[in-house]
Chain length 191, copies 6
């Protein structure tokens, strides 16, 4: 991080004058507190990316805490700019990801899954759809590290059926090869 | 591309001995032929990535030709390792992409769309879900460039409802917040 | 693209406040119009880089349309920051590039060439001198994708014989190992 | 990860034939087990880099578990190819890092420190000397994520006073500006 | 550089088994010897890139020594994969580079030049055409550092007028806007 | 370097309006003057990084001149963001670097060294501790190139024993496994 006369910008974020930087810029407290999982998915992601944790600027890494109620789900999603490792701290998680389209059209997208117990790690490569599901009877939680200070997240159900404005009905009925009423029903869940 | 005694590997691909390289390695013919769109989606992607076009190795770029029958759809998908520009050559395409999840939970994923006429270009940032739909009465076709020699592609419907093995029913019913029969119906389309 | 309080800069370009971004930022119309080839070279490059197409910012890709009158030439040039694929849409193009200096001084720089018909693609690796020449009797045009949002272009004849100020005569006579009058004659073409 | 006929190498690691890849390649179990801290430093780092966890290949991320006995120390060290976040799971850690040399010779290298309680995160930028010290009366442990699949680690005391062969005595006495006996005494601790 | 069972490849170069690496891999002797400048250009470049100096593998840097007889010229050339700094050690060098084409067609490519005396440094950005000319009455020499372990070099005169096979006469006469005899004369110098 | 209306920032540095750029921005004079080695280490590093030499911005390279009195030492240090080549111009230098920790705990960090005479080059990989010591009876000097425009430097003795504030005594006594008085003595040299 270089200093210039007035202000410094690095990768789109304002970089503090080095003389004003303190230990607090590199410190992010409070990830011991469980996130509130009282929501339809029964999960909560608490995020420490560069927008919330300025010291990550230029460092190419960020992290999240994820909490899961029993049968809570971190639903199928992907990170457009990062790979991720997920470390199961408590509980029992069913985790998986789907590979890219095969170039051989007779082969299907592969689903790779594992049951994760405390101490187990699973890796989700950049841009692939992945999920975790609490298959135990107790709360679960996990930590994850991501290979970008600003990884982004696209939740499939929300992006496809809950965007603003909605994706055109013709597009979705053709893409999913179902009746328009099925799509309307799906879209109704994300209004 | 450097030469060594026996063989040379660059980014996972065998790199030819420079003395054996010829103009043909940098040449890819035949993209003037329309792809066959006689399929349920009414579209066909013809791909020239590094697996099919060795001269792209280390160059960080690849390309595709996309054909669309009337009302043909290149369904919602994403590229985990590349951004894309799409150039409409013939026909009328409705193109769109959905932004990443907002960090403010009261804001929805935004859908950005445009009607593309011949000569129009639209850009799809890396890892974001995008689609094109032929809204004209004639065949359409487009060319696209991608910022990777091996961009990958994840088609949302196939990855979510057609993976091998299928994603667990509990995961999908919770993710899409619908009845299991709806998910089974969706999965049945991609068996 | 991250948001900060006042303004956001990414890779040297101002990045819009995400709330102000619209579909138009990712849209570039009008590349169906042939460029005006009424000039000594008989060719015209119409460029869509990040300076003209803001949505390319951070995406690592850009594109051009190139038109050629009969016997029109896109003269020997190179891109200091990008590799390129060139797709021949109409006409017949003679395309080529020259490899880097061999480390074995008895070997010469190799010229790789192809005649491109509609649907053919040729690739020009980053920083190598390349050209296209319309060898047909009709107008030709091509699209190209480049692996940078700001690839730059150095046209050899203009850079070497038409710079401002001119390159010293002694330098050029020695470099090209010809009489000063030949260099003066060459320089006179680019005043 | 691309497939070729015989074998695939990515960034120096053999990449499996995609058809042979399984979920186990992306899975690393057992990080719930505390490392053995019965050693002079009272700490143990358990590492999951690409050498031990092949699925990290090309993903740009890795992780470690660190255990600390009471007054256990992860001594001053640095990672030549990665930045790191450290998440305190249990116990009380005193963590710090030292910034690069100031260009103004009258200013000293700054030490930034924090006491970390469970749930607190501290970040160590790439290549900077950092440490953690268990200042509580109980065992402590932490997880860390690193922005490289092969970050490397240089422990200062071992590299400076315990290398094989030892660094020349004249170099070290001058570098640390102390009597040769002091250096010999320091070196004796790392034989 | 990671070790695997049989062999390790990094960026296209074989990487030694770490146990077999020695100090000699990181050592390149003899750059105190002037290169032989008894050639038409009166200059000689002595190169230490990764092909000749294996320890540079993955390090992103290389170097050259350049010798110049009086009025010796390192002719206009460029490096497709590296920027360069040039440090004048002895003698008086006239050094310059030409910027990329302006996007405003009424502005010409700019030539930036400096007379370099011992101790002066000039920088040539990646992919731009540059040269050095000994304008003193004594031998001169310089060292240069390049931002790639395999920067490549394209000498303009040789690539344009001396390639194998030659670039088509029509292409060159149009590019340089001169009579074919001038081009033939230029080509004759590089046969 | 792109131009925008008001100002341009690239990688954290202000980038001049291209119309205001001149040859002086790419020029750094005066490295023929020996640095003043009248200091306890008997060495002086004269640095041309992007803060002092604006033309290096975005170019990924920088350089230093290093002078050594007889028995002068450039003490053990590292660059967090760059690899380095060192070219010995005059004198006799003993140069070395220490590799990363072995993953096999029974193996020690390896020290690689060479005696450098004029014309010899040694390479120091990114983030590894290295030094040079003048073992001749005359002044020595060297030039070095670094693979970053802002490489940073961490001098081990100063960072470990001379930081502001000092590293906690308990941390250092445990890290170096010596008596607190030894650490206090070491710290006293860097107050």
């Amino acid at each position: 991080m270089a200093s210039v006369l007035l202000a410094v910008f690095v990768n789109g974020k304002i970089c503090k004058d080095p003389k004003m930087v303190s230990a607090n810029d590199f410190f992010f407290p409070g990830l011991n507190k469980p996130g509130n999982t009282s929501n339809p998915l029964g999960s909560m992601v608490t995020l420490a990316n560069v927008n919330k944790f300025p010291g990550l600027n230029t460092l190419g890494i960020s992290l999240v805490r994820i909490d899961y109620a029993p049968y809570g789900l971190n639903p199928p999603h992907l990170h457009p700019r990062a790979s991720e490792f997920l470390f199961c701290v408590e509980g029992t998680l069913f985790a998986g990801f789907v590979t890219s389209n095969p170039e051989d059209p007779n082969v299907k997208n592969k689903l790779f899954t594992k049951i994760l117990y405390p101490g187990d790690v699973f890796v989700f490569p950049q841009g692939l759809i992945h999920f975790q599901y609490n298959v135990g009877k107790t709360n679960a939680f996990a930590f994850a590290g991501l290979s970008s200070q600003f990884p982004g997240v696209n939740t499939i159900a929300n992006a496809v059926f809950g965007s603003d404005p909605p994706i055109n009905l013709d597009v979705l009925t053709k893409a999913f090869q179902v009746d328009a009423n099925v799509i309307k029903y799906l879209q109704a869940q994300f209004k």
